[in-house]
Amino acid sequence: MQSGIGARIPRKEDARHLKGKAQFVGDIKIAGTWEAAFVRSPLAHARITAIHKPQGAEARVFTAEDMVDLAPIRCESTLPSYKVSDYPALAQGKVRYVGECIAICIAPTRAEAEDLAEAVRVDLEPLAPVVSVEQALAPEAALLHDDWGDNLFLTTNHAGDLTEAKAKATVVIEREYETARQAMNPMEGKGVLAHWDHKAEQLVAYTSTQVPHLIRTGLSECLGLDQAEVRVIAPDVGGGFGYKCVLQPEELSLAWVARRVDRPIRWTEDRREHLTAGANTRQHKYKITAYADDTGRLLGLDADIWVDVGAYSVWPFTACLEAAQAGGNLPGPYDLGAYACRTYSVATNKPGFTPYRGVARPGVCFAMELTMDAIARAVGRDPLEVRCLNLVQGAAMPYTNITGKFYDSGDYPAAARAAAEMIDSANFRARQKAAAAEGRHIGIGFSTFTEQSAHGTKVFAAWGLPLVPGYEQAMVKLTPSGTVEVRSGNHSFGQGLETTIAQVACEWLKTDLAQVKVTMGDTGLTPYSTGAYASRGMVMAGGAVSKAAEELARRLKIHGAHLLQCKPDEVEINDCAVTNGIASASFAEIASAWYLHPDRLPDDVNTAGLEVTEGYKPDIDTGVFTYATHAAIVEVDPATGRTTILDYVIFEDCGRRVNPLILDGQSYGGAAQGIGTALFEEVIYDAAGQPLTSTLADYILPGPAELPHFRLGHAETLSPYSRHGIKGVGEGAAIAPAGAIVNAINDALSGYGVELTQIPATPHRVLSALLDAQDKQKVPA
């Protein structure tokens, strides 16, 4: 079977998952393990006046006072005006969100640990809760961090001159948009199991993370250990989405306790903890003014963006990555003449903002795509035509946009037109009319975006992060039996990297996928990698594996040629062997010669051997840009407010498709999450800052019955700047759905004069808008 780049093959990891044999943190068995439960804050904002440990259980309950030698999570940034928040593993003096950890309790079982946690009494003196960005910015607002003077982590200002755009504009569109707070809901929540290994003199932490090497750095810095004294192992991880790319306070306090009591301790996040303490993403507000001419050409854009970043800055991505991404990505795939944008990263009494699949772009794409449709309506043109008019044209590539993003390759309008063709937009108005005659309301919507992937050193350095990715390392080796082993410090947590990086090795070594063993996620066994985020895994780890495999192939040819008694340039690699015509030396024979019978090799043999570690980054640091257009046809039922997606197409271009099957899976999964953002998911807070959506009965995720049959189309414009022309694709499909679906809803309801600008577009929001419109019609002007 062809296993190299481009092969559409099932994933290596599926067998163990389908048999229930995977090893998640919760599956790991170490004798003597105890379980932990956290005492969490019941209030959004309060001073802690006392914590009372239950009598007799003092040695099994730990608070910040016990952990004086544990440093808080501290995320510095070089951005001017940025304010640092100390994020203690266990609350110190004050609690700043519902669900914040106050104490950690340990017992032989989780139920007993929860009994203990319940018996801990915490005396709290309530402070005024800050639940929205408006409240946070009000002059008399209570302060999250007493020494700050205000509630702003950061403001940025992209100053742009809009004078000419304003003067020329004949159409001015002003809109306010709002996106809900979400919880990412990986199937497996967070989890960590730590113990002190006396033989290795190491803290060993099994943790459900996307970034094991970063967690090692974080743990060692906060615990005051040398990095060599910490080993982090990410076992099977059941989804990450960004939720697991930051240092968790629970990881820290648990590691501290495991070392103190000298016993393995585990904590497994439950869904309620996730939906409260993990409600940490997506919440934005926008105020946008767009200046356009009569044709719908966008001349300039003026924007204010507020990000509700919660109480603390997460490490290492800071509370400000979101706003930096939002301000930088709002123009997206469009060619703009002028742009001004101010962003506000606002502290509130909610969990600290964490980047989620798409990072800021689902919000900016929603805002931009609704604005595009508003312009189209204002000038009376087809939304597709207005988009194509404004998109960066294929001939302009490579193209540097108004915020300095370097779009490396592709044809954005072509993708938009291809999506339109797939969904047959040309005949849609006739179809819409026919439906209307039956009393049905259907609408069409488009959404186009670019996805910066694998952005590297300079980009992250410009965001001022405390930790900047550089070269990605990987190791590829031939085992003594002649099979291939790949080791990467990146991680596979559902996105299939375990399979796709093996495919890259197969590309050079012409082996079967089953012959490639992949080890990832263990700092004790893998070369350094900053990990899996920012759609970088395939580009970076894939590139590093490619370089290492290429070098291994070169060395194999030298040894193989020797065994075949010919020159290295006379041989090639075929089917797990070095061949010269019909003569061949199998990998098994070469491995046997190198490891077990070096006497078969020449005296001047290359001693570098058959284990190759290489470092890689693409030719550019600015990232390679995937792009896509999503198009949706929906039906809205004015009797129930319910939106049904009748058709959904995605036309995307992510460069070389390493495994088209996995790529399709990434598109389905991402789009499903985007539909959650568009129609269902919302963490609701009351005025006291209490989350009201703390179970899955209240926080609604889309299920199979709510999802459409996605139809996919592809272009394959190779990036000139990355190995094999690969671009990242992990995040993309989550970005566009809200724009496409809400545009379609607004199109369906245009007869009612309804325009939704807030997501999720729940039946309640749709009905409220319809009833408002009805009331207006009843009242004569």
Binding site: E114, R642, L767
Partner: protein
Amino acid sequence: MKPAPFTHDRPDTAAAVASALAGDGAKIIAGGQSLGPMMNLRLARPAHLVGLTALPGMTEITETGGAIHVGAGVTHARIEDGDSPVTLPPMLRHVARGIAYRAVRNKGTIGGSLAHADPAADWVTTLTALDATLHLRGRESARQVPMRDFMLGAYRTALAPQEFIETVTLRTSMREALWGYDKICRKVGEFADAMAALVLVPGEGYARLVVGATGGRPLLLPDLAAQIARTAQHPGPDVLRAALAEHLPEADRVKLHLLTTALDRAIAKVIPA
């Protein structure tokens, strides 16, 4: 999300159940599909759970003298599947199929659902519409309560302390009922935001129109039911909305709109508008 400590037993006589329930903090558990989540959230903290599945008859379905008796411990899944020695009214099977997900239906019971009395649950509305009678068993007594009088409000029922539901009885004529049922959920398997049921048994002159998921006990609309039976006409959404607004003055406009839709659609399944 682990429950507080509790003990558990499964008595096999009604008397033993009653005396077990007399204990401090004792509570019945049936399928555990409502009680379980509440215990895991520690919103319910029974000290002792009394399982009913060992009681004779609890999981049986029988027919005597023009009545179908469904044991309180019969699961939604069995009703959905028609896994019964006697034919069940088609409406029961239809409604069972729409409750939650199959995993929940495999464990959840008809008696547990009624005793739990969630306003948005399917059985409280359906069995009110089908004029069911509940057989309740107490320590020394047994009594019958018509379903329409059983649910007093949200999560409140006519059950006395130490009393439990033994069987749910329906007239066999409900097999021939004309019925319409509609519920509006955000997602397949979620609890409903609105529901309604219309049941007509022309031979008996029986007509009942019930609205569920109102936030309280199922709402009966007897005048409208009689009008529908008499005229065989769909009253139309405006009339329905007005009736609902009159009976549910607290309902906000969105809720009223959804309830109107459910009612409109339930009726339309019997009498097209």
